[in-house]
């Protein structure tokens, strides 16, 4: 935690909203990606991300600086995203979004066979397959996958962020990679 960040946190703890705005500007994308990684849904990821920063600002006085601010943000983001996912399960929306349609089967229209179009079709198909694979994981498994494969955190850092044992982190990551690998391998070969 560099001195500048320390100063911003201190000012935010005194109620300086602009100082916290600078911190928000620095970490917004990071929190969004983590939230999206867990949720697999853009609109909800946006809501959770903003909720995280509002919560952090409200609770910033409790931050003692024993861990990095980033670690705290990871923890709140993952917890909020998982809570949001649980709430979503109870409230099934009738409104279909682009995220919902990502896992659907492709249309039956005759594909354009030009090289550019074929690449687009391939990318779309890959996106659908990845979304489908991710949906088969639990939110906790997606959280570990995102923190490891995107944020490049070590197992220990993930354990600290999620407040869970090292063994749990490794187990979830192993399962997530295995699931992703199985589905992608079979469909990947079909396409090739």
């Amino acid at each position: 935690m560099g001195p500048l960040e320390e100063e911003l946190i201190h000012r935010a703890q005194q109620g300086d909203r602009e100082a916290f705005g600078i911190l928000t500007d620095r970490y917004y994308e990071m929190v969004y990606v983590v939230a999206y990684g867990v949720l697999n849904h853009h609109e909800t990821a946006r809501d959770v991300t903003q909720e995280v920063f509002l919560t952090v600002f409200r609770e910033i006085s409790k931050f003692e600086g024993k861990s990095k601010l980033k670690t705290w943000l990871y923890r709140i983001a993952v917890n909020r995203a998982i809570d949001s996912q649980r709430r979503e399960r109870h409230n099934v929306s009738l409104d279909r979004t682009e995220d919902d349609e990502a896992g659907e089967k492709p249309s039956l229209e005759m594909p354009d066979k030009s090289p550019g179009a074929r690449e687009t079709v391939f990318q779309d198909e890959m996106r659908r397959m990845i979304q489908k694979a991710l949906k088969e994981l639990s939110p906790e498994q997606r959280a570990v996958l995102t923190l490891r494969e995107w944020e490049d955190l070590s197992y220990e850092e993930i354990g600290e962020a999620l407040n869970c044992e090292l063994g749990t982190v490794m187990s979830r990551l192993h399962y997530a990679r295995k699931k992703l690998g199985e589905i992608l391998k079979s469909k990947y070969k079909e396409i090739l």
Partner: protein
């Protein structure tokens, strides 16, 4: 590239595409402006309540004018010189507490004063077509 690295690359490429499909910069700017800038609503509790305060003030002013005690006829700038003249009509009582007297004016063709009916002040304007008596 081994399988673990392939999966990592696939997942990273996927997330990158997903993130780039959203205008996160604009989303972030809007959010920071709304909540963490100097003039943001959530940063200024008075700001968010200003319309309510304004409405309250207007209501208070309205209430104040409505319940302001009516001035007695004696407070008008020109004291009306009025004489009661008994005529065949005499006094007519229209409702309890209110009476109308036939009057003639010694101050001019027009006479204005206020009379209260309960808590409601009423401005009364007399016009004497025939002028003062």
């Amino acid at each position: 590239m081994n399988e673990e690295q392939e999966i990592k690359q696939l997942y990273r490429d996927h997330l990158k595409r997903e993130i780039l499909s959203q205008d996160l910069s604009r989303q972030k700017r809007h959010f920071i402006h709304a909540h963490f800038s100097e003039g943001s609503f959530s940063g200024n509790p008075f700001g968010i309540l200003a319309p309510a305060f304004a409405l309250g003030l207007l209501f208070f002013v309205f209430l104040h004018w409505q319940v302001r005690p009516a001035r007695s006829p004696g407070e008008v700038s020109v004291s009306p010189a009025v004489s009661n003249q008994a005529d065949s009509g005499g006094d007519k009582v229209l409702e309890p507490g209110t009476s109308v007297r036939r009057l003639s004016s010694q101050v001019g063709a027009t006479m204005v004063y206020q009379k209260s009916y309960g808590t409601v002040p009423v401005t009364i304007i007399w016009v004497f077509p025939g002028g003062s008596s």
